[in-house]
Amino acid sequence: MLEIKSQLGKLNSLTLSLAFLAIIGIFGLFAESSYTSYFYGMVELLILAYSLNIITGFSGYANFGHVVFYGLGAYFVASFITLLHPLGFIPHTFLIVIAAGGAVALLALLIGVVVLRLRGDYFAIATLGIVFAIETTIRNIKWLGEGRGLYFIGKIPLYDIKILYSYLLIIAFAVVLTSALILRRRLGYGLRAIRDDEDVAEVMGVNTAKYKVMAYAISAFFAGMAGGVMALFFSTAFPEYFLMGRSVEMFAAIILGGVGTLLGPLIGATVFWMIKDALLINFPYYHLIFFGITLIALILFFPKGILGLLNRLLAKKGKVLR
């Protein structure tokens, strides 16, 4: 009985997430272009939050360097287009974005094999450093445009923001469905076992190393694609994409919503984006101070996020959202 109920709970969350996402999607698609960019940022954060949730939420590994995959995705798209353009053959740009995501995922496999051997504090430090290491390296490679960024303006047609927004929407639906799938499959159970106690999980026969690296690569895949679309938007990959603050935004989003849940990143990213925008507009110079205070307050007082609060209300009706 309990099993059925929890299955039902997941189904509810998935339907809710998809419906919610569809509403955001429609708003963005049919709004005026200037509003679309607002929704663009929201959906992008949503993808990043969901992808971070796959590694950090499900397996409990605090990945502070998630933004690195976003930046790398942008650089892969820029590199692919720069390489392909002289050949006179450029496939559909969405295919390039997928390829870039794949390349980032491969790179994440390599990084993950090394970095995921570390736990807790060491893992957090290591991922924090990755951002720095990769950014400085890129800034020193001539072919990648050093500090100026890798331009490919004119090599692909300029896109209307609505087309790029629809790319993002497809990725967003994909990441929500993937998250739901992972949660129901062996991988999801394995990851949550790792989160609860990695040593026990290993003794119980969970192939922890493999599961962690898989989760890491999957999360990198989606973050990379989001970065790739951003590169198409500016026709450039900038070193500024590796902004540490982005990593924190993603964290804030999943904590605000509810870490390790299916619905959490969606709620968190949406609410966070609205708060951030309101703060930015009203307090252009001080918004980051407020942002910092909000982050602290969230962690101290609402560690389970908005979903935790909702569940407390729903508990009387015997329902649980995940």
Binding site: D121, I125, A126, T136, Y285
Partner: protein, 287 residues
């Protein structure tokens, strides 16, 4: 590759290494006592630099005394941050304390930016350099290094020979047992965090002697401090000093023989090597 340049690079690295060691020291004290990783280290370093700078600019206070003031200010800031934020996440999962302190970092950095702008500043101090045979040693760096060593020694004496030090060590060994013996763990943590913050701000005041600084200059130092702390065995002050010297050498060799801006990447590479080859650090015992 001339011998002079090589010797000079070593000297430069060593005499900046002591300062790096001090940057790690504040972090390692806090981690050693309460297992909390102070990611706001870089912001605190810059705050220390600013404290000393404004003491000089507004009141004409000698930067050497400014260091002491920075330390005192750091202690106060540390008490405030501990009581407001860290106290509630000390026993929470590591992710919580890291993110909460990330929030602290953002608040500190952006307050500094709003108050003082983003122009790089520096403290105009100059001590004549000393020539020994092939190499010249910058006098400023000698002063900074001596003071860094002095602070480290002071801390060691405090931990080893005072009553407070004994309480701190007892808490580190087993906080539950310490509580049962009548130790007010919360108070020990407050003092520990404040002590770490004070050392970090002192390191910042000394950094201002050598490097220009602006509100967002700190994050690079956080990375270096992390590497030093891990390399020197988490929670070990002496290891911290030695690891600082190693990172100082890495820093100066990368700067002279390769590209200065590649330093963070190389330091990171060293970090990963440390993690993989000797996760216990240079002072750790192999198990």
């Amino acid at each position: 590759m001339s011998l002079e340049l090589f010797a000079q690079t070593i000297i430069n690295g060593l005499f900046i290494g002591f300062l790096f060691g001090l940057m790690g020291l504040g972090l390692t004290v806090i981690f050693g006592i309460m297992k909390v990783l102070n990611i706001a280290t870089g912001a605190m370093i810059v705050l220390g630099a600013f404290t000393s700078y404004w003491m000089l600019m507004l009141f004409g206070i000698n930067p050497l005394i400014g260091i002491v003031i920075a330390g005192a200010f750091g202690f106060i800031i540390g008490v405030v941050i501990y009581q407001l934020v860290v106290r509630r996440v000390v026993r929470a999962p590591m992710l919580s304390s890291l993110l909460a302190l990330f929030g602290v970092m953002m608040v500190l950095e952006n307050i500094m930016m709003n108050l003082w702008g983003t122009n790089p500043r520096s403290i105009p101090v100059f001590y004549p350099s000393i020539n020994i045979g092939l190499v010249a040693i910058s006098g400023t760096r000698v002063v900074v290094s001596l003071l860094s060593i002095a602070v480290t020694l002071l801390l060691l004496v405090l931990l080893k020979y005072t009553y407070l030090g004994r309480i701190i060590r007892a808490t580190v060994q087993d906080w539950k047992a310490a509580t049962l013996m009548g130790v007010d763990v919360n108070k020990v943590y407050t003092i520990g965090f404040a002590l770490g913050a004070a050392i970090t701000l002192v390191a910042g005041a000394l950094t201002a002697f050598v490097y220009p600084f602006e509100p967002f200059a700190g994050f690079r130092f956080t990375l270096y401090a992390f590497v030093i702390v891990v390399m020197g065995t988490l929670g070990n002050p002496v290891g911290c000093l030695f690891a600082g010297l190693i990172i100082g050498l890495v820093y100066s060799f990368t700067g002279i023989y390769w590209i200065p801006s590649m330093v963070p990447a190389v330091v990171y590479f060293v970090l990963i090597l440390t993690f993989l080859l000797m996760p216990q650090g240079i002072m750790g015992r192999r198990k």
